[in-house]
Amino acid sequence: MATLKLTDIEKTYGGTVNVLNDINLDIKAGELIVFVGPSGCGKSTLLRMIAGLEKITSGTLEIDGQVVNDTPPAQRGIAMVFQSYALYPHMTVRDNMSFALKLAKKSKEEIDAAVMKAAKILQLEPYLDRLPKALSGGQRQRVAIGRSIVRDPKVYLFDEPLSNLDAALRVATRIEIAQLKESMPDSTMIYVTHDQVEAMTLASRIVVLANKGIAQVGTPLELYERPENEFVAQFIGSPAMNLLSGEIVETGAQTRVRLDGGGTALADVASTDADMGARVNVGVRPEDLVATDGDYIFHGTVNITEALGEVTLLYFERIGDNDAVIGKLPGIHADLRGRDVRMSAAPEKVQIFKDGRSLKYR
């Protein structure tokens, strides 16, 4: 049951290299917060500052209302699962899990009980006396998690814990972590990943980090359905959201945009008279595009098709300065290659961005 409050946190290396700015974030007790962002966005640095492995340049970090900026890692009541697992190679699984408790001078009974409990949750009982090198990747990962469970911390920190596993194991372990979270509804967890599937499936709320700051904070579906800006719109979802430039031609509860490619888009987005004639970008996810014979948002020649089985990806020819539009149709449509296709989307699926920000957020 721990809350975290990050206020105006900033990180600068060596007085010159600024990596994070203006980080303000409230984490409620029992939440699983996921930090995502492109590599180099500072998500790991932010996690390490929360852990106390990096000094906070300015701003304050509070855990349960207490400023912990100058508290050493071990006193913050946190536990961390590292990307490389960081198991102590010369210690058995049991010793790995009990190391922190021994350092804290806990009684032997207490240590044994905690280790056995964690081992049971993670099905590690048969391996307690093995060295890490005799374990598979997934087992090592579980030991790393077990090591943090044993400490019964206020906050769990996960630093890309699945990135060293192969695809199949990653899915299995992801589900295990989700179950683990469910079994400990009161513990607060912070999870760093660059994998948006992990983010979407695990998070209570996602923090998207970009350009040294927070781009958006929200539940996974909020981020998907109501991205606050073009960066989040394109970062969440795969393939990325299509952006088409155009001009607002009709305002009101719904907004109509005439696109530079000739089509028009109607969006369930409110606008004011002042917006009339403004240059905007219209965003439509590939999976929301549907083929049409009537009014279209976009039409173009299909350059390449990728039939993935359950869906077919259509790559259209580039028009103007916009990126090539991508469509995602259910089923197999290999025959569309080389054809001219008109695409449209339902108004509730269409986003409008002015100066990079969504009109839904103002």
Binding site: D70, T71, P72, Q75
Partner: protein, 326 residues
Amino acid sequence: MNPVFQGLITIAIGVGGIFLYFIASNAFLDKVLFPAKGPNASRNINRANTIRPWLFLAPTIIALSLYLVYPVVGSFIRSLYNRSGNDFIGFANYTSMFASSEFRTAFLNNVLWALVVPSVSTFLGLLIAQLTDKLRWGNIAKSLIFMPMAISFVGASLIWKFVYAIDPELGIINAIRVNMFGAQPLDVLQVAFWNNIFLMVILIWVQTGFAMVILSAALRGIPEETIEAAIIDGANPFQIFFKIQIPQVTNTIIVVFTTTTILVLKVFDIVYAMTGGNFNTQILPSYMMQFMFRDDGRATAVAIVIMLIVTPVMVQNIRQARAEMR
């Protein structure tokens, strides 16, 4: 007291003392000076952590400053005093040394040593590393050539004293001269100029293994693909060796070369045991030992000369280390 017993006590005191020092000093820091309790706990922990590295470093720093830093200054000052150490005589030790023909011989010989020993042992080391790389018994061969590393320079000198012995029933060289060429036996250690080379052979014999081990690892570190690409491009083994492999290990070759050069300037044992510096085989380290205990002023002057020769390497090493740390 029996020295063995004394030695055991020293180990106990030394090891125990060091641990005791670390435990006690850390405890003092954490419990007394900056206790991790009370209202200032966080601040105290951080303060303790800024002091702790110096606790860890203290024994080493003290040892180094006393035994390696202070002597640079101490030797220089001593070299400005006369034999007894009572009278300041400025650079007189240096001027008289530079004027002495034995010093010049030692200096020139040392230059020769510093050129020949590193080049030959690096070359042989590279050659052997390359030749043994693909041999099935390559590791055994390397191990045998590496073996002299474990032998003291005194032991190595003795081993080669046998090879160089005048008696054709003892020294292989003279046995070959007498039995195969019918020549008279000869004391090779008295042959002008070449005797220096014969002494260098001993150090080369010891040091080639070192060069070989390092260069062998470096050669193995070369990406196999570059060699395979060269094979497909039609290079023959010699071209591969000289045009693909050697250029990729140039840095290592330089490291091996300079390391051996530095060593050459430290080794007095071989000359001391083989010729005692006679027959114009003196080098600076053995020249210095001639004055040790007799004329400390002169001995330290020689040491300072050696230091000056080493300085460029030292500066270069420091520079490189600082560059790597950035």
